[in-house]
Amino acid sequence: MEKPNDPRARVEELAQTKLSDCYQCGKCTAGCPRGADMDLPPTRMMRAAQLGQIEEASKADSIWRCLSCLTCSARCPKSVNVSGVVDALRQIAVETNSVSPKSAKIIGFQKAFLRNVRRNGRTNEVEMASDFEIRYFFRRFDVMNVVNTGLLGPKMIARGKMHFAIGSPVKDKALVKRIFDKCKVEL
């Protein structure tokens, strides 16, 4: 039974799904391309959420392993929006700042992306990649990571795939910032 302030209500509202619909059949995990790498694969995540362990589930690393491929939601025999629950837990994790250090890089990437959209209205890939790299570099020095993305950027630029200037700029950039502010996006 849900008590007032039950954290499950927030997840259900964000994901627009009913947690108790899940009957733990395991089909979502069976089809998940990242299931094998997850500390809390989709079926177990659903169970934790059903039990009201929202805080614990939002700290799981697996919500940031998820590729948002929607296989789980598409296959669930009970039409549970499993990937929507992953998104809800991610939003809660970001809001409460309860992100595992292992996943900081992935969240750093998503935030760099949104900062970029907020500023430009559209994504500017070079600006975004460098914003992401600089912040991540200072947060946790990781030689392999810097080498890897450092190699990727020039490779893309060489093929004319990354552009220093954005194609055609958005005219009403102030409006985009207002949309972000009205949605209360914290970056």
């Binding site: 392993r65 948002s68 939003q91 998503q110 559209r122 990354m162 949605c183």
Partner: protein, 307 residues
């Protein structure tokens, strides 16, 4: 035919070759693209994993502009964009309160009435048979593995245009153009492109598995309808090879193959920007050698006459 057009960030950035291919292909099919005024980013994965409201608002702004421009269809070649736009339009249509809230947030009325379509759906609108009639030569050299990835058909409730587990619309179109699509298992397995910069080892292994499955089933190329799939499967092949991928696999956009069939060539389609080189014989269509051309029977008759 005119159609509203939402290019999306990828097509104006790292996948500019997709934009070239789509535009060239649509022109050849007499489809006029009317670009959405001052469109903004759809928010992609980042918006829906950080702020649900934003993930509706960004698409809603674009839908509002499309409604103002009186478009009835809005074509988004990137399946991530088309899925986000379509999902938002479904939510808006179903929920009057959300329409009110969003109109305030995005500063324009929005009802979600514009029909959002992806590349395959545009070809369906033109008609597979009508496209086949325009074909100059058959795509006889192509044995594509048609790769739908995750978002072209999902969520199935939102994108009801093909079977989410075993979609076949690309195969159907390409067969009509003379290609021989192979039967394979990985057509809807996610390629992991969403994490290209953020979690690289996982992505390389995902790419290896998908491409090896295509090769093992006799494919000589992979065809996609997604800019992220294309970049990921193309650029990551070097890493996938280190993990055991046995050979190079050229990665085409569906619009490339349709364009080749109706007579365009690699240079019209920006093939130079692909990481894995497109073999010369796949840069344009040519007559199949054993196919007797109309000229030959005439020659044979002459011989007969000489005898």
């Amino acid at each position: 035919m005119n159609i509203g057009y939402y290019p999306g960030c990828a097509l104006h950035g790292s996948s500019i070759d997709y934009e070239t291919s789509v535009r060239a292909c649509m022109k050849a099919l007499d489809v006029q693209l009317d670009e959405l005024d001052d469109w903004i980013c759809c928010g992609a994965t980042a918006a829906h994993c950080i702020n649900h409201k934003l993930s509706v608002a960004l698409p809603a702004r674009n839908l509002g502009i499309a409604e103002k421009m009186k478009m009835d269809k809005l074509f988004a070649p990137c399946p991530m964009c088309s899925m986000e736009l379509k999902k938002a339009s479904d939510e808006l249509k179903a929920n009057p309160e959300l329409r009110k809230e969003m109109a305030e947030i995005v500063e324009t009325p929005v009802d979600g009435t514009v029909d959002v379509v992806n590349l395959i759906q545009v070809f369906q609108t033109v008609g597979f048979d009508a496209i086949a009639e325009k074909a100059k030569e058959k795509l006889w050299r192509f044995k594509p593995a048609c790769y739908y990835g995750c978002l072209l058909t999902r969520p199935p409730k939102t994108l009801q245009f093909d079977d989410p587990e075993d979609p076949t619309s690309m195969e159907e179109l390409l067969k009509k153009l003379g290609a021989e699509p192979v039967d394979w298992n990985s057509k809807t397995v996610c390629c992991g492109a969403g994490l290209t910069l953020a979690d690289e080892p996982a992505v390389a292994e995902q790419v290896r598995k998908i491409l090896q499955d295509a090769l093992d089933n006799g494919a000589n190329c992979v065809v996609v309808a997604c800019p992220m799939c294309q970049v990921n499967l193309d650029m990551r092949q070097a890493d996938a090879k280190k993990l055991g991928l046995t050979q190079d696999v050229p990665i085409f956009f569906l619009s490339d193959l349709v364009a080749l069939a109706v007579g365009l060539e690699g240079k019209d389609l920006d093939f130079a920007k692909r990481y894995v080189a497109i073999p010369n014989e796949m840069k344009k269509t040519d007559p199949k050698p054993e196919d007797p051309k109309p000229a030959k029977p005439v020659a044979a008759k002459k011989e007969g006459a000489a005898q």
